[in-house]
Amino acid sequence: MLKESSQKLLRKIHKKIGVFFSLFLILLAVTGILLNHTETLQLNKHTVPAAVAARYYDSGEAVFGYQLLGQYYYTLSGFLYQDQLTLGPCEQLQGVASSAGGLQALCAGELLIFTDQQQLVERLGSVHGLPANISRLGVYNGGLLLESNLGVVGLNLESLEIASVDLPEANWPVLVKVPTVAMLDNSIQWQQFILDLHSGAYLGEMGKLLVDIVGVFVIGIIISGLVMWRNPR
């Protein structure tokens, strides 16, 4: 039998913790019910809109790349991306350009040539007569320009002939921060999204810890409830 004062304290704690965590419990219960009916609700077949996913899955790490014709080009984990589309291996993107009806990307001094359908045509480097240490890629009058230690040269992509050019007012790509929404495709399923809400993973490690704390306090509420049930007023 608990003392009257202890019972009062226990009741107070039980009430306050219960109120405080009730919203979390409702969230856990609702997401749990939804996950329980994944197949019926087809949560594994429908995807979360990219704008919504971007809000919750932004890692906070800035990714820089280049914007060309309304699309973003950037590298992640050694791969070159055009918005959400993987174009191929690329360690360090130094610029992108669009000339001769295709796309060109400068990756660690190597020139990657793509068709306008994002198909790789070839990789060109110093072996093909391109200058070593190319640092920038630009476009002038529809032609491709390469800047290296030797200055700016024009490159004919078919014949690979290089012609020195007077430094024109070329269109050099500028490094910009890539918005998360441009990087996220519509591949995040509702099932994953709800599971991340349920587990707290959408808040990262902090979120998981928070859900753990909620779980511990739920156990505490149950125990305190049982104790109060065994010790009526």
Partner: protein, 156 residues
């Protein structure tokens, strides 16, 4: 690690008069690549160099994790010289030594896309040996395909 620059390799084997050429890959090239490498060749065209009847190919293939850049000179459908131009992996670099690369001299491609002779492996460099061997087979196939395309083009 660069063991031989591409320009030195081309200069040593084809001289100044070499011409840069382009081979557009067709379906049958990709089918052969699939059979030889186990994957399609990434790209729609390959550049190569020619001097009279001799061609030189510079191709990359991944050994374990990183690409090995290999130069192959082909004359009369046989390998005249194979050189490792750049090796990027931490292990397996022994394939650059002449005792290994000399084994490819005078080898040709059999109809089943295998080399006409066997290549002795190097312990600890199995994947690199495989990559070099595959590239040599593909280069021989590409050289052979030049003739095939030429014959096709000449048929009225």
């Amino acid at each position: 690690m660069v063991y031989l620059t591409a320009s030195d390799f081309l200069q040593q084997n084809l001289g100044e008069q070499r011409q840069l050429k382009t081979l557009w890959l067709k379906d049958y090239h990709q089918q052969a690549a699939q059979q030889i490498f186990g994957h399609r060749y990434r790209g729609l065209r390959i550049r190569y160099w020619q001097q009279a009847g001799t061609t030189a190919w510079i191709l990359d293939e991944i050994g374990k994790d990183l690409p090995i850049t290999i130069g192959i000179v082909i004359d009369d459908d046989k390998i005249r010289r194979l050189s490792i131009l750049e090796f990027r992996e931490s292990r397996g670099g022994e394939v650059r030594h002449p005792f290994f690369t000399r084994q490819f001299d005078d080898l040709w491609l059999k109809p089943d896309y295998r080399l006409s002779g066997s290549i002795d492996g190097i312990s600890g460099a199995t994947l690199s040996v495989r990559a070099v061997s595959k590239v040599s087979r593909f280069a021989l196939f590409l050289q052979h395909s030049l003739k095939r395309d030429l014959v096709k083009a000449s048929v009225p």
